[in-house]
């Protein structure tokens, strides 16, 4: 028996015009970006006079992956931030809570609905991905890796939205706070890292910073899903160490995406428990 909340969400979301329109806009954005990329590169080749460079396919792939990620991160909080508070505003939450339906099922239903939506967006973009395969240079394994990373990140973002929607009575508050948290994750961590490095350098702690460069980076940016994603391209430790100009670290086997995924899983679990607590708390 399918989770009733998931079933309802899928049914109503797929039925409205909103979903196909959003899907269209999403695909349009991706195609414009890809087209622009081709146009710009076309001009370069006019002067270079070479044949088609397979590295270009990889660049397109990267572009799609990053673009998709940005779009997902922008859309997803709004999707789940209304999950519980929306039910509350519609006054349907009490109707579920006064049944013997487990609150875990409500949470699971809402998160899986969000993931289904993410999956839809990923599937919808596969035609673009197939261009990349056409030219080669990217293995299916790499794509699967990125998609899995997407999903784990999507779980975290869904949980953030879901918790906010359970924590705050009003939909508006819930949405605003969700995006604030997203801002802290994506931008706040980078700013904090920058500020930390600045303070350290003004204090003359350069030795410390150089010695633990990788650890500091992981510590500050490990929570940042963007960093986790970027590390797929930076080539994990090797790439980053080259980029940061550091020689060694005992943590070099720890890859940024591992930190990111661990963070996602742990924080998601905590948020789910807190959400459950919010749902069952009666006063």
């Amino acid at each position: 028996m399918i989770n009733p909340i998931l079933e309802r969400e899928l049914k109503t979301r797929m039925r409205t015009w909103k979903t196909p329109i959003m899907l269209m806009i999403y695909l349009l954005i991706i195609s414009i970006v890809v087209a622009l990329f081709f146009v710009i590169n076309e001009q370069r080749y006019m002067y270079g006079g070479g044949t088609f460079d397979p590295r270009m396919a990889i660049r397109i792939y990267n572009l799609i992956v990053v673009g998709q990620f940005i779009i997902l991160m922008l859309v997803l909080p709004a999707f789940t931030a209304t999950a519980i508070s929306g039910e509350r505003e519609r006054q349907t939450l009490d109707l579920m809570l006064c049944t013997d339906l487990s609150p875990w099922k409500i949470i699971f239903g809402k998160i899986s609905a969000a993931l289904a939506f993410v999956f839809l967006l990923i599937i919808a973009a596969t035609p673009f991905m197939s261009i990349v395969f056409l030219f080669g240079g990217i293995t299916i394994w790499e794509v699967v890796k990125v998609v899995l990373f997407y999903m784990v990140t999507a779980v975290l973002v869904s949980c953030i939205g879901l918790y906010c929607s359970a924590r705050f009575k009003r939909v508006v508050t819930s949405i605003i706070v969700s995006y604030l948290i997203m801002g802290i994750l994506f931008v706040g961590t980078v700013v904090a890292y920058g500020v930390f490095m600045m303070i350290m350098s003004t204090k003359g702690n350069n030795d410390f910073v150089n010695k633990y460069a990788y650890e500091i980076l992981l510590g500050f940016l490990g929570a940042n899903p963007g960093f986790g994603l970027a590390s797929f391209y930076l080539g994990d430790y090797l790439g980053i160490s080259y980029w940061l100009n550091i020689s060694t670290s005992i943590f070099k086997t720890v890859k940024p995406w591992m930190v990111s995924v661990t963070f996602d899983v742990v924080v998601s679990a905590i948020l789910v428990v807190l959400t459950k607590f919010r749902l069952t708390r009666i006063r």
Binding site: M1, P4, T16, D94, L95, C98, T99
Partner: protein
Amino acid sequence: MIKVENLVKRYGKFTAVDDLSFSIGKGEIFGFVGSNGAGKTTTMKVAAGLLKADAGTIFVNGHDVHKHRTEAKRSIGYMPDFFGVYDDLKVTEYMNFYCGVHKIPVADRKKTIDSLVEVVNLSDKREAYVDDLSRGMKQRLCLARSLIHNPELLILDEPASGLDPRARVEFREIIKELKDMGKTILISSHILHELSEVCTSIGIINGGKMIAIGTVSEIQEKLNHLSRVKVKVCSDFSLAASILKEQPLVTGLVEANGFIEFSFSGEVQQKADLLKSLVNKEVRVTHFEETAGSLESIFMHLTNEEGEEK
């Protein structure tokens, strides 16, 4: 079936339900009457497990609704004082969703939905969007929803409010039908006569306290005993008022539009004596009338009165 014992519920410092006790036997229909803000919804929400009592207990089918919430919930069909509908769903889909919530096996759902939709007379609206239903229909749909898991106890919070007279009658017929099905029903209203026809017993709540409880005829008796008297005097207004206030049988005295109005809970003779005492004290009475208090106005008075005494 349901037993409420010394229930207290506070919102901050405000006591919404104050030491409320009553019980409803199996198959009974209990009318829970009180003006707006009396504490009906609060009591029902505690019973439905949506609010926590500050003191007291509620047992449903032998289960403490707080300690054994899940078991108690299975016996309760709760219909709140709001619709709570997803308007992007059709009637059958709406019902199907709550069948899922109540873990009704997929194979049984069609039968369940069909029979419930039939009970609430929505058979011809099965494929309509919930959004397009009239208020009365939505109300009935919500009732059907609260029946999905075949609960023994129904808690209906002002199900007839906001309905036009025809829809009210229709709703009342459905309640009678449910009664015949053997359901125990706790139904609230701020209009007494709306319930007197369908209920086996009635409790009147005001300011969070139960001020009268009994069978319909007992309550009627109690109310009939009270009459509302209107007096007009020339110029001796305050004197008349003070004399009347001293009378033990006079309650709920108000002065309005040049009239003094009060409730009198005595026999006809005592009423005559009351007029006599006014005249004896040299009050010049120009008008002395017993108003034909409808049940409701008496009830309004009853609740107001007890409220003032607090």
